[in-house]
């Protein structure tokens, strides 16, 4: 089914933050800290790999579109918490409360109200496009094409 593959390729978006990261070491640093934190929390709550991939995708797209405040150190962390929360809501069956999400030595702890507003800001900045094509979409496609249907394969790809 070539249609599905070409549709995936069509819908796949480039990471537009890439150039920004090359130009600004401070942004690259803040982003890498935020991603590291998100992965720790993903591990802590045993979220799926897709949740982590989505959270990073949301964060990159947000940082790219919302350039005005991204140099503030707390801003990236606030966005990271909100992005992870959104990704968990999109993908997970059990989602921790916003306050409980801030584990693994986060530098700042934000109130629920602040995070709820941030979620809305991110959603509207991303125009509610919460199901992007990710590398996992291709893995899933390839696995299905190869007929890898066993339980173990599915678990591995999660």
């Amino acid at each position: 089914n070539h249609e599905e593959l070409s549709s995936l390729l069509n819908k796949e978006q480039e990471n537009e933050l890439y150039d920004g990261l090359q130009e600004s070491p401070s942004l690259a640093m803040a982003r890498s800290e935020a991603v590291e934190w998100m992965l720790k929390v993903t591990g802590h709550y045993s979220f799926s790999a897709l949740t982590a991939v989505l959270a990073v995708n949301y964060l990159d797209r947000f940082l790219h579109s919302f350039q005005s405040h991204r140099e503030k150190p707390w801003m990236t962390q606030l966005a990271a918490v909100a992005c992870l929360s959104l990704a968990a809501k999109v993908e997970e069956t059990q989602v921790p409360l916003l306050l409980d999400l801030q584990v693994e030595e986060s530098k700042y702890v934000f109130e629920s109200k602040t995070l709820q507003r941030m979620e809305i800001l991110i959603l509207s900045t991303l125009q509610w496009r919460m199901n992007p094509v990710t590398p996992l979409s291709f893995l899933d496609y390839i696995a299905r094409r190869l007929g890898l249907k066993s339980h173990l394969c599915r678990e591995f790809l999660r």
Binding site: F47, T93, Q116, R129, H151, E155
Partner: protein, 347 residues
């Protein structure tokens, strides 16, 4: 903000005409996580539906809006307008207003639907799921999940929700009660329909219709009937060939047509909501329990995965499953008593 001053209730931002609404209906619909108002836009006077979320943006609302905005604009798809946060941190979701939805339709209609009505709704509903409509949808890699289509078909026939669980665990218990634990058990489902036919006058399902329902409510998503195959299923396909006959005034009156439109909207949003879960339905029972066990920690930065070869992992799995099974059994026992069984259907 919501002001309860006499008949005037204002919602939104007073300082922004474009985000200011006036309630025009005392009470519309209240759920546990949200309340729905009907209101006018203060400037344009457009009637909208406003959903107030009590605890920020809920998971279900987020998924619903993300699904709606990923669909191309279509008259049968309900329109999401915007989210308004007022000065007191109240959250309002502004949506297109529909006078009726399927639930209200079924509540209002005293008699159960007849078979033709059910088929008609199912048919329209399936057209809504067809690739034609979803071609413009943003990204969906998995096949559309047909499980909720089965749930809605059963609900149309029974005039009640098929699996009435208030939480995940109860939901699973309900599914086991109706479909059996392990391989789906046709008899139990059939019994439910026979009971409904004799008590409420629900239409008796044809053999073909029951066959379709069984295929929709198949546990294994790999074996579950696809949207395409459902359209070609003998129970539905005759209606596809003569859609015009369904819309003649003798067959269906105008109001009914409107309800059907709303039904499609509802169905679409439900289907969109569930597609993301499709690929892991069969394993979700086990994985959900294993992953939610307190104290289970996966080494950070590595994606969680279960090693089935490790004896310790297997022992842990057994323990969790045993614990969940006992909880489930208690639930089932209580349910079974309600239904007049002496022991849990699991044992």
């Amino acid at each position: 903000m919501v002001e309860e001053a006499g008949f005037l209730n204002f919602i939104g931002n007073k300082n922004d005409d474009h985000q200011f609404f006036e309630r025009n209906h005392p009470q519309y619909d209240q759920g546990s996580y949200s309340i729905i108002y009907r209101a006018n836009h203060r400037k344009t006077l457009e009637i909208v539906a406003i959903k107030q979320e009590f605890h920020g943006l809920s998971r279900s609302t987020l998924r619903e809006i993300a699904a709606l905005t990923s669909l191309p604009r279509h008259p049968a798809v309900i329109e999401f307008k915007e989210v308004v946060v007022d000065d007191r941190d109240h959250f309002f979701i502004i949506m297109e207003h529909l006078e009726n939805d399927l639930k209200r339709f079924m509540d209002v209609k005293k008699k159960p639907l007849n078979l033709n009505e059910v088929k008609c709704i199912m048919n329209q509903f399936l057209e809504g799921v067809s690739p034609k409509i979803l071609v413009g949808a943003e990204a969906y890699s998995c096949a559309i999940d047909m499980w909720p289509v089965g749930c809605i078909m059963a609900e149309l026939l029974l005039k009640e929700v098929l699996f009435k669980g208030r939480c995940d665990l109860e939901q699973i218990a309900q599914i086991y009660i109706v479909l059996g634990n392990g391989e789906p058990d046709d008899n139990r489902l059939m019994q439910k329909f026979l009971a409904a036919t004799s008590s409420t006058g629900a239409p008796s399902v044809t053999e073909l219709g029951f066959d379709l329902l069984k295929k929709l409510l198949e546990y294994d998503p790999e074996k579950r009937i696809t949207a395409e195959a459902t359209l070609n299923h003998g129970d539905i396909s005759p209606f596809l060939n003569s859609p015009s006959s369904l819309h003649t005034p003798t067959a269906l009156d105008k109001a009914y047509d409107d309800y059907v439109c709303d039904m499609i909207t509802l169905a679409k949003s439900k289907i969109q909501l569930s597609y993301a879960r499709d690929c892991r339905d069969s394993s979700s029972l086990r994985t959900t329990f294993v992953l939610s066990e307190p104290g289970t920690q996966v080494i950070p930065t590595k994606p969680p995965k279960l090693s089935y070869g490790d004896p310790r992992e297997i022992a842990k799995l057994d323990r969790v499953m045993g614990y969940e099974a006992s909880l489930l059994d208690r639930h089932l026992g209580a349910k079974a008593q309600e239904l007049g069984h002496k022991t849990s259907p699991l044992t």
